[in-house]
């Protein structure tokens, strides 16, 4: 059954892509075939994912490959099922969105894009199912390659091309780290199969720590963890929006999936110290990601930075989980991991929603910069409502799902603080970081929603925007509903996630809160019931309406009139706050971190005095320190290296074999 569904979903998604490529000469037909086929495939995949989640024991599927020992092994367990659900569930919604969106957007290379998208989805699915190094890498690489192929919508733009190559380089560098980590493990276990890793006796602590560090860098690069994030905000926005949604919502989650597998299954027993490292990196990613998102005025790039932030929050939960698992407190580790997984789910949902809404805006206006938008709530009410729900959720405000998982992360930090002496301090500090992230994210999404959708339109395209077709609204509405559902009834997704926890962690006591409750980390504390809070809120509002009715008089009518605006009758679009203006205090506050240069060019005709300039132009140069300090040198090094390597080697498989050989020799030399 599982294997049948697996083949059905993979083949349908991939084959419909291939069909779309074949029908390329008739783009409209190709796109329809591709989308419907992918939709069918992803729906089959959703069923598969649910079956995986429901199954008690992991199922296996194995084929022998062309080379002995290099077979394909798949494993269907609950953790894979959860990530599979993300891939196929969100994949289904994104393809539904993509059907009308493709016709509005770039219509020239629809077939090729659907082809890539199909294979992208299929390879993501295989990544989370893979159960040996070879399968994993084949899928991982093809995921990166198809993601790369999906990127350049516009070949002619230099920055787009650069972003795509940056993405490829970052992927390859990250992959190299992961590969080394895997190969060391494989060398130790004597097999490329993951099951062998699980069974093998644990390595010594320095080796495990080294492998963990490699995996953390490798997967961290893919996940957009600071300081390895530079490619992410450049690459994600250049893809078509529903693809960006899948990249930010799902693809970076596969890296987290890999990290969880590594940490909890391959490298057990864990060391508590790793957890602290992950926690620290997570906190840094979260704070800086939120800050950079706030300073970005390109809507999609802002969302991409916000992915960095949310990956940071997930990593914070994961870090605490690793810490507790390492110090032998299984129930708290389970709680923290649950928080991380829950936030993974939530982020996947609302980030996809926000990217789809951004796509809908982009389709309607062809403007991605917040500085050129505004007033869309009037022209595109449904998109605006969906975006607002997403913004509310991603800002971590109750009762949406973002709050639920962030609250659980706080709880995890709270119990971390009651751990051993060294972690006492990290708990509250990380909590303060999380609070800062909450404040920054709220500012960021108030700005995005307020400047982009409310107020007056700033440009002609924004003034003439049209609401997206119904086919694009439905997926967004479904996601928005999911945001609220997961926030109001957090017990249900948590129960699902509890099944995904690694074997050594189990905490049945945590789930006593019921379907509507949000369990506290320490079972002595009562759970939180978001629905109760909403009900009280509603009661308060009802009472207030009653009071208002009683107090209101007949003459108290509501009139609509021009804004007061200091008595100046003309309300100009330029006289509302701009996105850059909104975030200027933050930019000033973080000026030491940003190295932005602002220049006010004062142009005066030569005989006019400087007091009365002809025109003034403000120019802002913004340079990310990570770009100049971390990434450019790495990029240069890799380019030089790859040039050298490409002279000797051609096929990528052989390159890997060479890697393999070299590493194995190296390890043999080093290991006593």
């Amino acid at each position: 059954m599982l294997s049948l569904l697996f083949f059905l979903s993979i083949l349908l998604t991939a084959a419909s892509g291939a069909a779309a490529l074949a029908l390329q000469s008739r783009p409209a037909l190709a796109h329809r075939v591709g989308c419907w086929g992918q939709l069918a495939g992803t729906l089959a995949g959703v069923v598969l994912a649910i079956l995986c989640l429901a199954s008690d024991a992991p199922g296996h599927l194995r084929f022998d490959g062309p080379v002995p020992g290099l077979g394909f092994t798949l494993r269907f367990d609950a953790l894979a099922g959860f990530f599979l659900l993300l891939v196929f569930g969100l994949g289904a919604l994104a393809t539904t969105f993509g059907l009308p969106y493709g016709f509005i957007g770039h219509s020239s290379s629809l077939g090729t894009r659907d082809f890539c998208l199909g294979f992208f989805l299929a390879s993501m699915a295989v990544v989370v199912l893979a159960d040996d190094v070879f399968t994993f890498f084949a899928a991982w690489e093809s995921m990166s390659v198809f993601a790369f192929l999906l990127l350049p919508g516009e070949h002619e733009k230099r920055e787009v091309r650069e972003a795509a190559y940056l993405f490829l380089i970052a992927s390859q560098v990250g992959t190299a780290f992961i590969l080394v980590a895997f190969l060391v493990l494989a060398h130790h276990a004597g097999s490329l199969e993951f099951d062998a890793f699980r069974r093998a006796a644990p390595l010594s602590l320095p080796w495990r720590s080294g492998i963990f560090a490699l995996a953390l860098i490798g997967f961290g690069t893919k996940a957009g963890m600071i300081p390895f994030h530079v490619w992410l905000p450049k690459a994600h926005p250049v893809a078509p929006s529903h693809v960006s949604a899948l990249m930010s919502g799902v693809m970076i989650k596969t890296a987290l999936y890999g990290l969880i597998r590594f940490a909890f299954e391959f490298l057990a027993p864990l060391d508590a110290f790793w957890g602290l490292v992950v926690l620290t990196l997570g906190a840094v990613s979260a704070v800086l990601g939120a800050l950079f998102a706030l300073l970005e005025h390109d809507l999609k790039r802002m969302l991409a930075y916000s992915s960095v932030e949310n990956v940071g929050i997930i990593l914070m939960g994961l870090g605490v989980a690793i810490f507790f698992a390492g110090s032998g407190k299984g129930d708290w580790a389970a709680y923290a991991l649950l928080a991380a997984l829950f936030h993974t789910l939530n982020h996947a949902v609302f980030k996809t929603l926000l990217f789809l809404a951004a796509g809908s805006v982009l389709a309607a206006t062809r403007e991605a910069s917040l500085e050129h938008l505004g007033g869309l709530a009037r022209r595109m009410p449904a998109t605006a409502v969906c975006f607002l729900v997403g913004a509310w959720a991603i800002s971590g405000l109750p009762p949406a799902n973002g709050f639920a998982s962030e609250w659980m992360t706080y709880q995890a930090l709270w119990v971390l603080a009651s751990g051993s002496a060294g972690t006492h301090l990290l708990g509250p500090i990380a909590a303060a970081c999380l609070a800062l992230v909450g404040g920054l994210a709220a500012a960021c999404f108030v700005r995005a929603a307020g400047v982009g959708f409310l107020g007056l339109p700033r440009t002609e395209p924004a003034r003439r925007a049209e609401e997206a077709p119904r086919g694009m609204i439905w997926p967004m509405a479904a996601l928005a509903a999911l945001c609220l559902f997961a926030g109001l009834a957090p017990g249900l997704p948590l129960a699902m996630l509890a099944g995904c926890l690694p074997r050594q962690l189990s905490a049945p006591s945590l789930l006593l809160a019921g379907p509507l409750g949000l369990p506290a980390a320490r079972s002595v504390e009562p759970p939180l019931y978001p629905l109760a809070i909403v009900a009280t809120l509603a009661a308060l509002l009802l009472g207030l309406t009653f009071v208002r009715r009683r107090l209101g008089t007949a003459s108290a009518a509501t009139r609509v009139h021009g804004p007061w605006n200091c008595g100046y009758p003309i309300v100009a679009p330029r006289a509302q706050y701009s996105a850059s203006g909104f975030s200027q205090p933050f930019a000033y506050f973080a000026r030491k971190l940003l190295s932005r240069k602002k220049l006010l060019d004062v142009h005066a005709r030569h005989h006019y005095s400087p007091y009365l300039p002809e025109s003034l132009v403000l120019r802002v140069h913004s340079v990310s320190p990570f770009d100049t300090l971390v990434y450019q040198p790495v990029k240069r090094f890799v380019i030089r290296l790859s040039k050298r390597v490409s002279r000797l080697q051609t096929g990528s498989l052989r390159l890997y074999l060479a890697f393999l050989l070299g590493t194995v020799i190296l390890l043999l030399l080093i290991q006593p």
Partner: protein
Amino acid sequence: MPIPQPFLDELQAVVIRALGAGATVSPSGPGRARVGPAAGGYSVLVPELVAIGGRLGALVATDRRGLGEGLLLEALILFDTAGALVEVSEPFPGPGATLRSITARVPAAHWQEREVAEMFGLELVLHPDAGRRLLHEHTPPGDHPLLRDRDAAQRLEFAAASPPAFRQVRGEGVHEIPVGPIHAGIIEPGHFRFFVLGERILHLDIRLGYQHKGTEKLFEGKPLGLGVHLAERISGDTTFGHALAYCQAVESLCKVSIPARAVWLRALALELERLANHVGDLGALCGDIGYAFGASHFSRLRGEFLNKSELVSGNRYLRGLCCLGGVRFDLEDAMARELERWLPRVRVDFEEVADIALEADSVAARFEGVGTLSPRAVRDLGIVGPAARASGVALDVRADFKCEPYRDLGFSPVLEPSGDVMSRARVRFREAQASLEMMVRLLASMPRGATRAPLSTPAPFAMGIGHVEGWRGEILTCAMAGPDGQLWRVRTRDPSVQNWLGLAQAVEMNLVSDFPLCNKSFNLSYSGSDL
């Protein structure tokens, strides 16, 4: 005081260089000289005079078409160090003639040129920011109120118009904050257009004219004595300063010499007005930063000064005290003694409050380094009064032009070096101290005698000039009488006309939230500059 000869020689040389050999400088009164009407007398000569240290005072245009001439534009150039006032003039054939702007070289002329152009229908060319200044966009284009053939009773028309064009600051994310004309507080109307990036002010455009009442037109044809009442209403907080400037102008026209006691009493009232306003401003500055202690106690002290003004003149704003030829009421000895008793007391009180308020750390943190105006900008823009002195530029009519009675009582202007809000606050504080000191000296040296001299008939079409250091700065009033002995033309230049430009300059690159504080530190008059 006669103009020193070496200065006259230098002036003559400049005039010949600018206008050719025929042009001459002729003394036209004590401390005054004039350069006869000549082509280029304004557009060529004024920049030259400014280059040798002159300061553009007032532009006075007159419609002399009824006398068989055209329009005449006179500029009053002040040489503060020499204590001299030079009148230069340029004739124009009539409305529609071209006025070559000098604003590019003399930025101080910016607003006054625009006023002259729109009031007399001259076409302003080469002005970097030509546009409506007092009349707003709804006024029909052909209406030039100060031409003599326009009926004063005729109201301004209200025509549909496009909104005013502002200079734009371009750049990603630059936006505007329109403030006013109606403000949440009870202040005068004015429109401020900020070009900002978030909290940072990149540029400020100030549009006034909402208080335009046609005062100059109202003067025309009024009896000389009635003009005092009109002058008192130019700017409510400078009642006495404006009245005094007007009276001086008419008195110089009629060549009256004022009795010494009246001169002393006028100085007393002028200082009283300065005190009330400076102290009130200090309170308002504290209020702007939410410093309740300073705000309430300075307001209380301002009340004291206003009450003493009422004691002296019967009016809290000194209305009705000044009259042509002297002052209307004498200061009774009992009053003088009461003042003498009160002065040391209030001085201690005031200094105590100011010591606490201006020395408070949280106040200093707000005042220092904000709204800095450079001495160069002060000179270029023709800034006057405490605003100039706070930037270290020693400009004070009382000292520079050797006015009575300050000449005899030993007066030197108060200077502060840094040009920020703190400097302007400290200048106000120290000037208030100096005024209290001056009042003591005035009361001690008060001569006896009459308080009013009779007027003679004024010479027709001659220009009388009143020149007063009001609390806000230098007030220049020019008065001309017609052949019937009634007023023919009065022009008043309030210090605000110059200082608004300084405000726009001082707030650049400051924070938006510091603007109200900068604004209050200048505390300019809308009514006085809109006339």
